[in-house]
């Protein structure tokens, strides 16, 4: 089974990927905009936060700057799609590729260590908590705040307009909704959340690395789809809770898989396990219904 440290570690990264899953929920589910920018905006958030922190900027300000940078990246993708009519998926790939160079430029080197720097977590270590519980407590608060704000937003007039844009753009336009502006706003918001996740990840892991974004989209999707399989997303708030639950379950599953000695899996198998888990999460709900259908048919 899992050690205490591995358990809290899984919850901690799960919470961070919950933020990524929020972002992916906005792009994939609300806007129906398959956005791969996140593979670039996650390390972008980390890079911006890390560079500002080693410059001595307040870590919360640095994290805020990471959010804004992420939003900028998302806005670029959305504008490529809306203004230049580039296919959404391709537009996001272009931004993602471009961000690799941008991130290297921002950092000036492939990675920046933050182990000795003051981060958003530093003051929390003075609390009467076990060392590896600290990030879990702080990130839970951040995720809860994000969940409540996003939920309120999705229920607002603008949020409803955004949901209509993704669900039925023709109807949305006929109701006077500027669908292009909604896509820009939504994809920016989505990548802002991913930028936030990147910044927090760098601070909790003690380093920003230019390659840390590889596969973030798949992990985020795994969390989203896994969460939806556990908790049917019949309302916005349920969908958002599902994102967090999915992300935590995903990280726990990975931790278990890597810790189960009899499986003989190692850290380098992570992406393979992820791909298998995502496939299972997509296929299993369908298998469940078809098995159920077979049973009822046999009975009849």
């Amino acid at each position: 089974m899992l050690s205490n440290i591995a358990f809290y570690g899984a919850i901690e990264t799960g919470l961070i990927y919950g933020l990524v899953a929020f972002g992916i929920y906005i792009s994939f589910r609300v806007l129906d905009f398959p956005d791969l920018t996140v593979d670039g905006s996650f390390p972008l958030g980390a890079a911006v936060a890390a560079v500002l922190i080693i410059e001595g900027v307040n870590p919360w300000l640095a994290t805020g700057a990471a959010v804004i940078a992420g939003m900028g990246a998302g806005a670029v993708t959305a504008l490529l799609n809306v203004k230049l009519n580039i296919l959404n998926l391709l537009a996001s790939i272009l931004t993602m590729i471009a961000l690799y160079s941008v991130n290297l430029r921002i950092m000036g080197r492939p990675n920046i260590a933050l182990l000795t720097e003051e981060t958003v977590l530093t003051p929390w270590y003075n609390l009467d908590l076990e060392y590896h519980q600290v990030p879990v407590v702080l990130f839970t608060l951040v995720v809860l705040a994000g969940l409540v704000l996003l939920w309120r937003f999705m229920k607002s007039e603008t949020g409803l307009a955004m949901r209509a844009t993704g669900a039925n753009p023709r109807m949305a336009r006929a109701q006077g909704i500027a669908t292009g502006a909604m896509i820009v706003l939504g994809v920016a918001l989505s990548n802002g959340l991913v930028g936030l996740a990147g910044a927090l990840f760098a601070q909790s892991q003690g380093a920003a690395d230019v390659t840390m974004g590889v596969g973030v989209i798949v992990i985020g999707l795994a969390s989203l789809i896994g969460g939806e399989a556990v908790l049917t997303p019949s309302s916005v708030v349920r969908a958002l809770i599902a994102c967090v639950i999915g992300a935590i379950i995903y990280r726990l599953a990975i931790a278990l898989a890597l810790n189960a000695d009899f499986l003989g899996l190692q850290a380098q198998d992570l992406n393979l396990i992820t791909a298998v888990l995502v496939t299972l999460a997509i296929v299993l709900p369908g298998v469940r219904t078809s098995v159920a259908a077979r049973f009822t048919r046999n009975k009849a």
């Binding site: 607002s156 949901r163 006929a174």
Partner: protein, 264 residues
């Protein structure tokens, strides 16, 4: 009031599939008028409606809605003045949103949308009253997802949504064509009732000559992207489908070959 002057629009210009959809279409619809529009396939009915709504941009000509030139404005900037019901019953509403959310979207048509809660308690009386007028029991199902409703129910709600806030013109694009006959006549009845009660200005495209003569107070026939005739008032009273056909043949020296137009 809405005035379209000399609208021209060609699809696929310069390609082998070049298709002139509007060839100098002009029409003025006065305040409070209910105009029915007929024409065979390819006459330009839907293109004309799409041009008025802003879904397609005309190559030349002018569209004036309530004294404002909207020719170059995109759909969402015209939406405050132009309300619309689509042919596809699924197109006018969002199935993933609840009935009250759909209505709340429509009540802000053409207005600024902010960050306050979209579904407001003060809307509820209006929503319930208008839904009750449909006699479908929907006033008790405000929280239900739109996708749970039948096509006819959804089209009835689309109609409500289009008439929830004032508009300069209501565009109805064969909005009963995709429904079964019983539901179609229900939605048509509802349409005439709403237009009458709220004294709306409306333009209704239909595929049925009979329907075009039975409802509204003016009938316009389109052919090859132009208005071929336009009848109202005394001339229109007591007119039957065969009279309409004769009129058409006399004016054009053409015979109508579109069966669906004759049979509808």
């Amino acid at each position: 009031m809405i005035t379209a002057t000399d609208l021209k629009l060609t699809f696929g210009k310069g390609t082998p599939l070049e298709n002139p959809a509007l060839r100098g279409m002009s029409l003025t619809v006065n305040q409070g008028e209910f105009v029915t529009v007929i024409g065979s396939n390819g006459a330009g009915k839907s293109t004309f409606l799409n041009a008025l709504a802003g879904e397609v941009m005309v190559d030349s000509g002018k569209i004036i809605v309530d004294n404002q030139d909207v020719t170059k404005l995109p759909t969402y900037k015209r939406a405050g003045r132009v309300a619309r019901v689509f042919q596809d019953p699924l197109a006018g509403t969002c199935e993933g949103l609840t009935i009250e959310e759909n209505l709340s979207l429509a009540i802000k048509r053409g207005q600024r949308r902010g960050l306050s809660a979209a579904v407001k308690a003060r809307y509820m009386d209006q929503f319930k009253n208008s839904l009750a007028s449909l006699n479908l029991g929907l006033e008790n199902r405000l929280g239900d997802k739109m996708g749970l409703l039948s096509g006819g129910q959804r089209q009835a709600v689309s109609l409500l949504m289009a008439s929830l806030t004032p508009s300069a013109i209501l565009l109805l694009d064969e909005h009963t064509a995709a429904l079964d006959p019983k539901t179609a006549s229900f939605v048509l009845e509802l349409t005439t009732q709403i237009i009458k009660e709220q004294k709306l200005t409306a333009l209704m495209v239909t595929h049925s000559m009979k329907q075009a003569l039975e409802v509204g107070d003016r009938t316009v026939m389109l052919h090859q992207g132009q208005v071929v005739f336009d009848i109202a008032g005394k001339d229109r009273e007591g007119l039957e489908v065969k009279d309409l056909l004769e009129l058409f043949e006399k004016q054009r020296g053409l015979e109508i070959t579109d069966d669906s137009l004759l049979l509808g």
